[in-house]
């Protein structure tokens, strides 16, 4: 369901981008500036999508009944965690177990070793991709429509609506976001949906403020005035003139808040309210393993690298996007 929605959304986005000259130019400029970051991001999104498409049955030969009965995603089918697991820790590409030195059932197959329960670390890291994208992406799906609705209507209609929205924003923004997040999760309970909703409630204010500010400026713009004079309805003006002109800001803000959300989840995990299977949880589980002798580093490395690569890629893209779109910094670059 979610996958279909996401796919439809990206197709629509691709069409818009290819039709509009401004966006097409920017996209190609972005591609020229940050090819590696874009490829990395595409890779992550690919893994996330592969991990979202799952069905029951159709197991490979050798699977037992249990695995065949559960819904498994493409990633699960690729790694086959039911079959390819060890009894406990093993070092990257090792052929014997870390403690005791017994031969492994799948020597040399674990690129980043296995964790305490013998699960492949690469597999676990790959599973974390979807969770991270969910945190950043799914939350934004909740946030952006709400923020746009409130922000644009406040900025466009002004007066009472603006006062009310602005007050709501001030109140929500006044509460330190991490604390509000924690309080929300504690009160609503744990779970993917709850955490995402909590992240959404704390996150929409930022979007909303930007949408409101831009709309305020646009409302006074000449072409909006002209449209209004021609008797175009408010809704149409918003759709045709306001929304397209704040889209770029929304994208940049989205990219920045995406990294913030993914990083914030590690703190939630440390506090025991993170999402199951996330990189934050992997880091939390692995942090004490540094004290083992000999040191076990691959669990921490797997999750940290995944997190680092994703956040870095998004950060780079956001940075480049800002340079490309924001006229102020563009001028300064020359």
């Amino acid at each position: 369901m979610l996958v279909v929605l996401l796919l439809a959304g990206s197709v629509w986005l691709a069409r818009v981008v290819s039709r509009d000259r401004f966006w097409r130019e920017n996209a190609s400029q972005l591609w020229r500036r940050r090819p590696i970051a874009l490829i990395t991001l595409a890779l992550f999104v690919g893994i996330g999508l592969m991990d979202s498409i799952g069905w029951v049955g159709g197991g490979t030969p050798g699977d037992d009944d249990v695995a065949a009965l559960r819904s498994r995603t493409l990633i699960d089918r690729l790694f086959q965690p039911e079959r390819i697991t060890e009894s406990s820790y093993s070092a990257p590409l090792a052929s014997v177990s870390f403690y005791g030195g017994q031969p492994l059932t799948h020597p040399g197959r674990h690129l980043l070793g296995t964790d305490i329960l013998g699960r492949d670390v690469v597999y676990r890291t790959a599973k974390g991709v979807r969770v991270a994208l969910l945190i950043g992406g799914f939350t934004s799906l909740i946030v952006i429509p709400i923020a746009l609705l409130f922000g644009v209507s406040a900025g466009y209609f002004g007066k009472r609506i603006d006062d009310a929205v602005f007050f709501l924003m001030t109140v929500l923004a006044s509460v330190p976001s991490l604390l509000l997040l924690i309080a929300l999760v504690m009160v609503m309970g744990r779970g993917t949906l709850q955490v995402c909703v909590a992240l959404g409630i704390t996150g929409w204010v930022h979007f909303c403020r930007i949408a409101r500010g831009e709309t305020l400026k646009l409302r006074e713009a000449e072409f909006v005035d002209a449209a209004r004079a021609l008797g175009v309805s408010d809704l149409t003006i918003i759709r045709r003139h306001v929304l397209p002109n704040i889209a770029h800001l929304i994208i940049i803000t989205f990219a920045l808040s995406f990294t913030g959300l993914v990083l914030a989840e590690t703190i939630l995990s440390y506090l025991g309210i993170g999402l199951e299977g996330s990189w934050g949880q992997m880091i939390d589980q692995a942090r004490n393993e540094l004290s083992r002798t000999p040191i076990i580093w691959w669990n921490l490395t797997g999750a940290s690298l995944g997190l680092f690569a994703l956040v870095l890629a998004v950060n780079m893209i956001a940075d480049a996007l800002r340079d490309i779109i924001d006229p102020r910094t563009r001028r300064e670059g020359q």
């Binding site: 007050f167 709501l168 001030t170 109140v171 929500l172 923004a173 006044s174 509460v175 330190p176 991490l178 604390l179 509000l180 924690i182 309080a183 929300l184 504690m186 009160v187 609503m188 990294t259 990083l263 590690t266 703190i267 440390y270 506090l271 025991g272 309210i273 934050g280 880091i283 939390d284 942090r287 540094l290 004290s291 921490l300 940290s304 997190l307 680092f308 956040v311 870095l312 950060n315 780079m316 940075d319 910094t329 300064e332």
Partner: protein
């Protein structure tokens, strides 16, 4: 100016009332006081113990309106959780912790010292180092140093703060033995020893974003006309940077950091918790882990209060620093 200040403060007050309403919905309307009581006195306790606990912590009253009392005495109509919540928070009467009955006000007082002794050096050192580094980078802008530092900043920004702490503790505390791994002391000489590591880790973890921001400000400033004039007059680049750019860039930098000053009081959540510093950050983490709603409520409220205060401060300092800002 005075009128502006008053108007700003009144708006801030309304915001505080709004925050309190939000907290009320979160902590009273959604959370069941019975669950809090059960957690506090244990599952095996007898009903009268629950009742006593709820009475002592004020959870025994109705939520919004007290109809039962109102019949006898109309003044007691407001003897409810909602009014009590407002009254107590606004008078800073925080009551006792839900987890262990200790007075929250005392815990706040005890935690303030350790928190400040971590956050103030962290803030000061972080500011000095990042401004110096940003100045340095802006000085060498468009050279390999500039690019290298910017990339480095981006890298440091992409690492989870948890990893800095884990790494710092492991490397410096355990392998190199420069400082104690964790802990705290009130004795100033010992305290320095304990605080060195968390301050170092905190500075490194936060420096990336700051340096990038300050560099942008410096570069923007150094492209202005008056700087060009100064250069044309033959001022040395170093003198231009220090005398002109730094001084003029300080205004945006300062107004950027004024907002963070109040938060020095609430401590650093992760640093305090990992390094065993008994400050307000640790208090918050413990309240989270121990389901101590009354303490968490207080911390959220104080955080919001400080933020609002910081905003007023920022607006005022803007107005003072830049006469062009219209006081509307």
């Amino acid at each position: 100016m005075a009128a502006y200040l008053i108007r700003r403060t009144i708006y801030g007050l309304f915001t505080v009332l709004g925050v309190l309403l939000l907290l009320f919905v979160l902590f009273f309307a959604v959370t069941d006081p019975d669950d809090i009581a059960r957690k506090a006195v244990g599952e095996r306790a007898r009903p009268e113990v629950y009742a006593l606990w709820k009475k002592n912590h004020g959870y025994d009253r109705p939520l919004l309106l007290n109809r039962a009392y109102a019949a006898a005495d109309s003044r007691r109509y407001s003897d409810t959780l909602l009014f009590d919540h407002y009254r107590r928070m606004l008078t800073f009467d925080f009551g006792n912790s839900d987890a262990d009955d200790s007075a929250i006000a005392r815990r706040l007082k005890e935690g303030m010292g350790p928190s400040l002794s971590l956050t103030v050096p962290l803030f000061a050192l972080g500011l000095v180092v990042s401004v110096l580094l940003a100045l340095f980078v802006a000085f060498f802008r468009e050279t390999y140093i500039d690019r290298a530092v910017l990339v480095l900043c981006m890298l440091t920004m992409s690492i989870a703060s948890l990893l800095y702490i884990i790494g710092g503790q492991y490397l410096i505390g355990m392998l190199l033995k420069w400082f104690p791994i964790s802990g705290f002391a009130f004795d100033p000489y010992l305290a320095g020893r304990f605080l060195a590591l968390p301050v170092l880790v905190g500075v490194v973890a936060g420096i990336g974003a700051d340096v990038r921001l300050y560099r942008t400000i410096f570069v923007e400033e150094s492209n202005r006309d008056y700087v060009r004039t100064a250069r044309a007059k033959g001022c040395g680049e170093a003198r231009v940077m220090l005398a002109h750019v730094l001084r003029n860039a300080l205004i945006p930098i300062l107004s950027n950091i004024v907002i963070t000053i109040p938060f020095l009081f609430t401590g650093a959540l992760l640093l305090e918790s990992f390094f065993g510093i008994p400050g307000l950050g640790s208090l918050t983490v413990e309240a989270i882990q121990g389901n101590d709603f009354s303490t968490l409520r207080t911390m959220v409220y104080l955080g919001a209060l400080l933020f609002i205060a910081g905003q007023i401060l920022t607006d005022v300092s803007y107005a003072l620093a830049d006469p062009r800002v219209r006081l509307t």
